[in-house]
Symmetry: D2
């Protein structure tokens, strides 16, 4: 099983998250590319640290909305999204090249992630862009989402992810932030959820509907309160159960 | 001889320069990379057009100063400059890859160009960054500048440029914008200057001092009033004199 | 009757629209406040020119989306919108004070204008913000829109506007840009439409439904192709018919 | 004596400093205005909190350089600086008006502060801009600086500040960040320095030269490590010595 987290979300004078601690836990790092978070210097430091820890590096492109951290839906056209995914991906590729490593996968961020999960045109724009830049890249997307389908359709390798620290709706979508139960913060509960996802995939939605989700990667949010403890709890539980933690994209 | 111009300087709703016209004239296009001008969509359209015309594509990284068009000196550290050159270069590389072409060279923009021409630490930061990302890239820099030296020192191929539409000081540096004679706007004068630069390299500085400058490329500014006519006058003069116009970076 | 247009939409090195020409035609100037267009220097120059021409100055706040020119819907919360309207309005007020004049009215821009026309919570957030900053300001909004209602509800003076260069839907809303007929570009047609709006208010929607719209102000877009000629055609037609052109906010 | 600190330096998803704690200590709050830090929502929350605590509110305009936190010198012209000070000041004024309070003073930030302390043209541009917007505003500037002079020359009330947590050069200027001794971090040392500044003004420069500085306000940096403890130590020392802490601008 793979554990992924959003990293490199600091910007200029502002620090966000404890990247050094998270990089001791996760196997894949979704690195912000400067549009919703991160800057060239933060990206380079994050890449260097991830490479030193043997953590796989993924591009984490988002909407051009620094003030909103890429969490606000923005009516960019699929054409604009394609161009901006290419731009952000390329920026991180060069940073990786300069640090002697490379980008392994792409996972959209925030509102773009949600839109790409549900909207076929957006999903296709992203998948085609990634394939044009480097067809060996893996597309990391919500299990069962439009982006998984779009990735497959253009011939990309895809990886499905699930969330150990987020509540699910009965239809398998993530509960929107703000809904009661949308964020799990108890380390034991998050670790149990991760174990279920890493084994038989059986979890309950917020209203009790049984779901089966068998992901290739489990996401931990770096900016959740206590993110590092959650990640450590997940890692300890999985490793303690004999589950090997290794990047999905090698 | 090569003719280069700054292109792709539009941004969002704002158009700047007549790229389509200039691309019928120049052999190398310095494409803005989003920090001082350009955005992902403008970059992609510019790359597509340049590739279709057989014009060589160069990255044109600048300071992170959209409001100032990268023309204002900014006390970024060499470390920050290195990171931002890598970021911008990578963004354009991916755009080129997506369009089936590639970046051939790098030329810094505006205030960063001037600083890199004079300051060894800045020049080294840029040269090393380019070499780390792709050692086959050519560094296009002011003839006789610190950046030419720094490029050679890190093993990059370098190309020296001169300006057909700018006045020179007696020491070979460009006359600062704002000084009388800093900008040549008469097409015949610009064409004559270009012819001199493309043949024996003999030109006069603003105070009459004879200079010899033998460039690999002649720059035409895309945002000079009448830029397109100037470029056409230069091209006609050189082509009419039997001088082959071809990219310095093939 | 009042004629208003969006002005001050240049940014840094980029020029947009012919403000000097439009200011000879309109009686009210919607001045961009730096979030979707305009910068502090452009705002000041625009204010100075408008004041010199006796044109009433309005704040034209938009979404924080320079790359999208404020034309893309952005899921900012009403709370964020309130704060950003206050910020932009205040910035223009100080520019006006520094130039010996003052802001008379507020009109939201682009996607924010459309959202405020239809969504009561957004409209209330804007109206309350304007009233908190200066209850003597007039709110300029689409005739019949939620923003007109919200302005009245908080005790602001409101002014209803109609568009001489835009097509209408049968329900009185603007036809979305991109729909056939959404933009009128023939000067004679635009002038006739303006005359109808300034007299009995009878116009036809795109599908032929008769509408009656009696605005306090007619909007001409500064960035429509041929905007200046359209504005002049409107002014000539109205002035030639003996209709006095004067700011709605004095 | 007055104690001032930089506040409202968070931005979007990024938090910086402990404003709530600092507002229990200082008597004047320099509120970032969105160019180098802060956004409309952060500004409003900061203003509300400061007003509730009876802390005087000052505008803290900086260079348009979010990525560099306004700490990097930028070759903006005095004309551009004037326009941007007016813009930022107005934005904060409107936020204050919306919250039932008002701006009392202006203090430039970071690299702009340093430039205005040394360069007469910059100082004059800022002083004139403040006076044009509201001549009742106080200008808070480095004791003995060009900005103090410029403020007096245009008829503004001025307040001189000194730093309890910064080392001084023998000529009375601040030691540049990065120089050994440039930042004092020991609470007892900072408190002693503050007591000296609040009484006879006798302090030593980094090389031991005795200086006499009699400020109207003492600055504590909100982003220094342990800023809150430093501020509390200063307040306790001054209040414990019977020195009344009260805003310089009432």
């Amino acid at each position: 099983m793979d554990l992924n987290a959003d990293l490199g979300e600091s910007f200029g004078a502002w620090t966000l998250g404890d990247d050094a601690a998270l990089l001791r836990v996760v196997t894949s790092a979704n690195v912000a590319c400067g549009f919703h978070a991160g800057d060239a210097t933060v990206m380079r430091a994050t890449v260097r640290l991830a490479a030193a820890r043997g953590v796989a590096i993924g591009a984490h492109p988002g909407y051009r909305d620094l003030a909103g951290f890429g969490r606000r839906e923005l009516a960019a056209t699929p054409h604009e999204i394609a161009d901006e995914v290419i731009y952000q991906l390329g920026a991180l590729q060069a940073v990786c090249t300069a640090e002697g490593t490379r980008v392994r996968y792409v996972k959209p961020h925030g509102a773009l992630y949600n839109r790409a999960a549900a909207d076929a045109a957006t999903a296709r724009a992203i998948a085609e862009s990634v394939a044009r830049v480097d067809p060996s890249l893996v597309l990391l997307a919500l299990a069962g989402s439009a982006l998984i389908e779009a990735g497959r359709a253009v011939g990309l390798q895809v990886a499905a992810e699930a969330f150990a620290d987020r509540g699910y709706l009965a239809d398998g979508r993530l509960a929107p932030r703000g809904m009661a139960g949308a964020l799990l913060t108890d380390p034991a509960a998050v670790a149990s959820r991760a174990f279920a996802l890493a084994t038989d995939g059986r979890i309950d939605s917020l209203d009790g509907t049984p779901l089966t989700i068998l992901p290739d990667s489990i996401c931990i949010h770096g900016d959740t309160p206590g993110a590092t403890r959650l990640a450590a709890a997940v890692r300890d539980r999985l490793a303690g159960s004999g589950i090997t933690l290794t990047p999905f994209a090698a």
